[in-house]
Amino acid sequence: MRLFAVGVTHRTAPVELRECIDFARAGLEPALSALTSRGVAQEVVVLSTCNRAEIYAVADDDRAGEAFGRFISDYHRVPWDRLAPHVFEHRGPDAAGHLFRVAAGLDSLVVGEPQILGQVKEAFATANGLQHAGAVMHRLFDTAFSVGKRVRSETGLGEGAVSVSYAAIALARKIFGDLTGLEVLILGAGEMAKLTGVHLQAQRVKQLTIVSRTISSSDALARQLGGRALPWAQLADALSSADIVISATGASEPVLTRAGVEDTMRPRRSRPLFVIDIAVPRDVEPGVGDLDQVFLYNIDDLRSIVKENLARRTAELDRAERIVAEEVARFATWMQSRDIIPTVIALRRRFDAVRRAELNRLEPKLAGLPPEARARVDEITHLIVEKLLLTPTEQLKGLTDEAMMVTYADALNRLFGLSSEEARTPAIEPRRGQKAS
């Protein structure tokens, strides 16, 4: 019994190829059914996002990896020759490690992005809902979720905005805390102004005001964003009530001068003003930033924050990788301890078979007993078997050393004459999907 992870990711395949292999497009359910109907795998989970299409599976055959690769090729009608060079295959602990890194965002295009954990959870829930996930997948994905959580809480990997708009919003939060009660003024009605407006709207600010030179375009943007438009002449009024100003006009001269902002600051008292100048050339005189309660950031400032955050995330990689390695080791130990399970089951079956055979043999003598006494005999013999097997079962399940496990299994096979057929019986009951084949 082996764990496999097979598929393509943004690291192994170009986007033209990944586009063709989108399990999610037609729904995961048919893909899972088609895969299990091949009878190669005992447990299957399919993870499909725009950056990856991956199959996690438990199979007996060592060559199952290629079978999964060929399934991807057949299912999406991509010739195997074209696909094969881009398919990765991990086995055993490496496969677990791969999933843990994916769940933690370590394998993401933007390292540390949080969405992937939700996608991994969904992938597992879908497979589990269709009864394709057994004990191994449960353990594997539960561990993956906790790795994702640990990496998020114990390292700075997910911290710091990595896009200019989020950097601006993170700054605003650091200044104002909650953004819901704030008034936002947007200068300009172009594409940049709109983009930032959409982001702020998502933060549910109290009031969005748009001021631009042409009232018709600011009206249009205000309608789109659910804000209000004011004529250019009322800029000073709008400025005095604003908490955040985003300037994105196409003007070649500064729109906000130091003197102009200073005038509106006086009645504000100590209420801070956050000015974000994303226009090029700049809309806001640099001197505005020297005013007492004004925080002025331009597009370059925000870009350098993003750059620093990305660098910091990279620095946290080591800590995250250590967490992954820890959990992989723990999972590998657990997986190994499962190798003994077929032997345990065979042993139990053997004992129970002896019990039943003896009861059958004694049937004529037992027939005279009243039904309750007959039931007691059944129960007592069953209990004896259970008690005899309790300690050996615990001992066997506690084994972690592979060589020791083989020795024990061998010895048990010989001592109790466990047939290889019995010992090979899979630990997990066959799933419904598999019987269809």
Partner: protein, 275 residues
Amino acid sequence: MTIIAWLPVLLYGLAAAAYIAHFAQREPRVGRAATALLGAGVLAHTFLIGMQTVTAGYAPLVGTTAAVSAFVWLLGLAYLYIELSTEERAMGAFVTVLMAALAILPALNPGVESRPPLLRSPLFTIHVLSLLFAYASFALAFVLGITYVLLFKEIKAKHLGFFYARLPSLQVLDMMNARAIGVGWALLTAGVIVGAVWATQVHASPDPHARAMSVADPKILLAVLSWAMYSFAFFARGAIGWSGRRAAWLSAIGFVIVLLNFLPVGYFLTRSHNF
């Protein structure tokens, strides 16, 4: 007795180390350990004060050293309340350092001073406790003010770094500062009024302390000064919009006066409060 007297200092010191480590590395386990250590320190301190109360038969509030001990204990309680209600540990690094340093004074001199007849009034206990609680609030306001200024400078200078990653928002710091000043000011006002009433009651007493009770005494003078300072801080916020950085500076200066009054003046200069 000495071991029990030093135990709070030790635990506060360990808590301070843990809070600083947590502030630097942001390891959640270290943060929880810091809170646990501080909690243990406050418990040990509670036990110590309780034992002193039982032994002496009155609350150990006589003399500056005992007052420092009670102040540290109240500060620990107030800080723990704020931490548990806001889930915010960043302030702990500053508060516990102050606590550990101040807790050394009572540990060096663990005995309970005998209580002169002058102080056998319930007004005395109310006076001391409300003032110490006010001081604890001002200590928190001071820490909040300092961190506000540090964070403000980082954002203003566009060097988002150490404090940016560790402190709550400016708005939250400012709001907590306002609350701490508000609570502190109310208790300070109450403490001073009770003190004044009590001083007029005992004015005829033969005790030389009673006759030294006047605004000319440095301890009382500085107390009135700090009351004026915090009254300004309290009302200026609403009336003339002195919030944010100005409020932060006011709470820093205010606490410096409080600390001066508490330690050097309390130990060496006053003739009315040197019990």
